[in-house]
Amino acid sequence: MNKSELIETLAQEVDLPHREAAAITNTILETMIEALAKGDNIEIRGFGSFVIKQYRSYEGRNPKSGKKIEVAPKKLPFFKVGKELREQVNLHGKK
């Protein structure tokens, strides 16, 4: 499912025009992006949480040429699935 399909299912569920469901979806996603860009965490009960992990610079290798390279320090977002969703996903898979 892509963003416009998500917007469409949301529009049907909450009985709002597509345009408004799109504004809601974009507001939620932009708020999440802004939070992560500031280095904040996101914690959504029942769904999951996002944390930013900070990596120091390290010496890596180009896997193709084997050449050593210096990897710059970076931050990466990690998603940890919430307990409820994790359990539900597994119940579903067993069917």
Binding site: M1, N2, K3, L6, T9, L10, E13, V14, E20, A23, I24, T25, T27, I28, L29, T31, M32, I33, A35, L36, A37, K38, G39, D40, N41, I42, E43, I44, R45, G46, F47, G48, F50, I52, K74, K75, L76, P77, F78, F79, V81, L85, R86, Q88, V89, N90, H92, G93
Partner: protein, 96 residues
């Protein structure tokens, strides 16, 4: 650095502030949005959100593990995992 935590409540407040629905509606809208995402994942359907990232349901194979307390060998059943891969744009924004 002071780390804030974004939750359902703050998301509802932002929608209330920017789009003007009532506070109660905003809480329900955030819940509905998350519920739609969940239902898609429960259907084993990945969700691809441009500029944000992709949520995927992955099958984990059964494997042999050990109970760390007793040392007993056990088989870990196949299970499903939800993984998230951030988009290039999100990774760039986080490192700006």
């Amino acid at each position: 650095m002071n780390k804030d935590n974004l939750t359902r409540k703050e998301l509802a407040e932002v929608i209330n502030g920017q789009l003007g629905y009532s506070q109660n509606s905003c809480a329900a809208l955030v819940d509905a949005f998350l519920e739609r995402m969940k239902l898609s994942l429960l259907d084993a359907n990945s969700i691809k959100l441009v500029h944000f990232g992709t949520f995927t349901v992955r099958d984990k194979h059964p494997r042999r593990g050990r109970n760390p307390r007793t040392g007993e060998t056990i088989t870990i059943k196949p299970r499903q995992m939800v993984t998230f891969r951030p988009s290039k744009r999100l990774r760039e924004q986080i490192n700006e």
